[in-house]
Symmetry: C2
Subunit: 221 residues, 2 copies
């Protein structure tokens, strides 16, 4: 998705594309991702950002018409990156479906600790910033949640088929609740600089969706 | 808590306190609350804020030594306001404990809709902004969560005594999970401009904590 696009290169102001143009765009996206996962988007001026990453304004505007367009590109890039990360864990056929979800959680906990709880979820951060952002961000943010939700649902569907989940609930609602709770857990983990909120959330999530034993099920209200 | 403090008035630069000085401080806190629930704190410059609310810089600095001190005062004010709101619902002895929690949720849903899903939770917003804020905000934010958590725990304790809750879980963990999920639900409700995420979260929260029937309990793993 981040490959240079020669068709695009032909548009706009005539500009000599130096070697390394691809690297510049990739570097912008990479630094933008760090910015958006660690700090606010609205609170960071474009000039300061470009100064920090050492990329001239001209190069920036070659790739992105505006700061918002840049933010949206970073968001889309993150959505795809994160979907691949989800697939890595959730499609792992060597593990039972609920273990796959736990594997994803454990991996994310490692990521939180590795960045000293400074980096959260880019989608959650931008979602929280919505009041300061252009409305253009709303649909792409929700689309990404829906995409992640569909991936978790597919994994839960297998667990449901295996009889591991409470069949009085829909896997769609369970998957929606997973991402609702997830964003809250990441927010709190950053605040207390510990993975404990993620563990608390995960335990409670699994407790709420697991099938009661057969007898239990018969006696359930 | 927002009463004028005559001891404070005597400090700092000599300044004639006009009638309405209390109103100025109150107005700053009120507008600050709107700002912090709707928009980002880091992304809003103090000058712009004061211009918008029509309060001169001099008046501002009479009450607050810095923008951060102002943000912390707004946060503390919100924490107390919200704790009172929680008490209103959670200490209502005319209702069963779990109904009290549902009453609070319903009231908050009304608030979300009333402000067209623009206003979220000030504590959640600031928590998400932590990467752009002074570290001074960290402890007060967590203190407020702990305070709210204690209030929800006290309500859940009554339900537990009544045998309404799953006694394999602690009410402390349940209360912690409530606020973790709550912040995620508010974030998502603002994004989709609907109370549905709050309902989804609430249903799943209650489902996860309610006591299975007696027979069910006996058969539980």
């Amino acid at each position: 998705m981040e490959t240079p696009n020669s068709a695009k290169r032909g548009r706009g102001r005539p500009r000599k594309i130096h070697e390394g143009a691809f690297e510049t765009k990739e570097r912008l996206i990479r630094h933008g991702t760090a910015l958006l996962t660690e700090r606010g988007f609205a609170s960071t001026g474009l000039e300061q950002f470009l100064k920090d990453v050492g990329i001239p304004k001209g190069s920036f505007y070659h790739y992105f018409p505006s700061k918002d367009a840049f933010g949206l590109a970073v968001l889309q890039n993150y959505g795809i990156y994160f979907a691949r990360k989800l697939d890595k864990w959730l499609l792992n056929e060597n593990r039972a479906p609920l273990d796959r979800l736990q594997d994803f959680i454990d991996d994310a906990k490692g990521g939180l600790a590795r960045f000293s709880f400074r980096r959260g979820c880019l989608v959650g951060n931008l979602g929280q910033e919505l009041g300061s952002l252009s409305d253009e961000f709303r649909d792409p943010l929700e689309d990404i949640f829906q995409d992640w939700q569909a991936r978790v649902k597919a994994c839960l569907d297998i667990a449901m088929e295996n009889g591991e989940l409470d069949n009085t609930q829909s896997t769609n609602d369970m998957a929606a609740c997973f991402w609702i709770g997830w964003e809250g857990a990441i927010l709190r983990a950053k605040l207390v600089q510990s993975t404990e909120p993620v563990d608390l959330f995960a335990r409670s999530f699994f407790m709420g969706i697991k099938a009661p034993s057969l007898t239990t099920k018969l006696n359930r209200e």
